[in-house]
Amino acid sequence: MEHLADDRVMQGHTAPPKMSGWRGFVADWASDQGAFKGVSWGKAMMWVFLLSDTFVFGCFLVAYMTARMSTVVPWPNPSEVFALEIGGTSVPLILIAIMTFVLISSSGTMALAVHYGYLRDRRKAGLLMLLTAFLGACFVGMQAFEWTKLIHEGVRPWENPWGAPQFGSTFFMITGFHGTHVTFGVIFLIIMARKVLRGDFDDGRRGFFTSRKGRYESVEIMGLYWHFVDLVWVFIFAFFYLW
């Protein structure tokens, strides 16, 4: 059987001419055709997955808000809890700030990897993806350090030395889920970087699982996931660490 791999078939590209703005919005949904025009199924599905993940993290943050608002015991001050001693002085939130900058840097290198992927510069794209993976691994490492420190100080999901016991459970839940996302992102980045560096998207080598030809768009889709992980951290940083 002929492979359907040349994905243009799957994209609804045979649709009538595209309108823009509101008329386009109505037209896209109003007919028996692919709604997301100019977007491959892979990218559309990644967006839908990210939307579902948005709700997962949204629920975690709402649960955290509810716990923090309804406790009669004062909430531990994150500015002090996450302070580090540097040269004898206590700097508030410094590790979290460094983690934030590392993750943003990794988002930047990921965006550049997508850029060079579309330029078909597979060396630069692959190396930038490996750099992104490295920065992500650094982030997870610092998170492991942070967890270790807090656990040594007596933070548990059911108690902590400074105040409301729910602090521990929400902290481990939210940062743990986010760290897991980063970890999986690092693994996928390494797999994709290998494909890019080997030139799979140039010589049309078929994937071992789907037996389809990959395209450099896969780098962009990988990037969507990675930027989403950074995006979630923006919200966690604001609501959990700064609030």
């Binding site: 823009s20 939307l51 948005t54 808000m65 009669v72 450099y216 940083f237």
Partner: protein, 111 residues
Amino acid sequence: MTDATAHADTQHHPIKLYLAVWGWLFVLSACSYLVDYIGVQGLLRWSLIILFMMLKAGLIVAFFMHMKWERLTLIYAILLPPLLILVFVGIMIYEANYTLLTRVVHFAGGA
């Protein structure tokens, strides 16, 4: 407004744009860290945190995730549903206040 036709097939944009967005993300992160470092409190603190957070989120989604150049159909399909979380937040604010009230009334002192 956006030159959607020019980028219809691939999301390929000048590298300067990415570097500018990257720079702004650094600046905004530094600003939100300074809010804590300086120790701004009260309403000003919360509004600054939310402001910097929304600006960062907007930059990431619009430029790094290329949402700015997508068609409205995809933008609305992805960006409107999360607004429902705000409804959930509203519901849980009532619930949390009620829980707090019962705790204060029935477990005075919060033991």
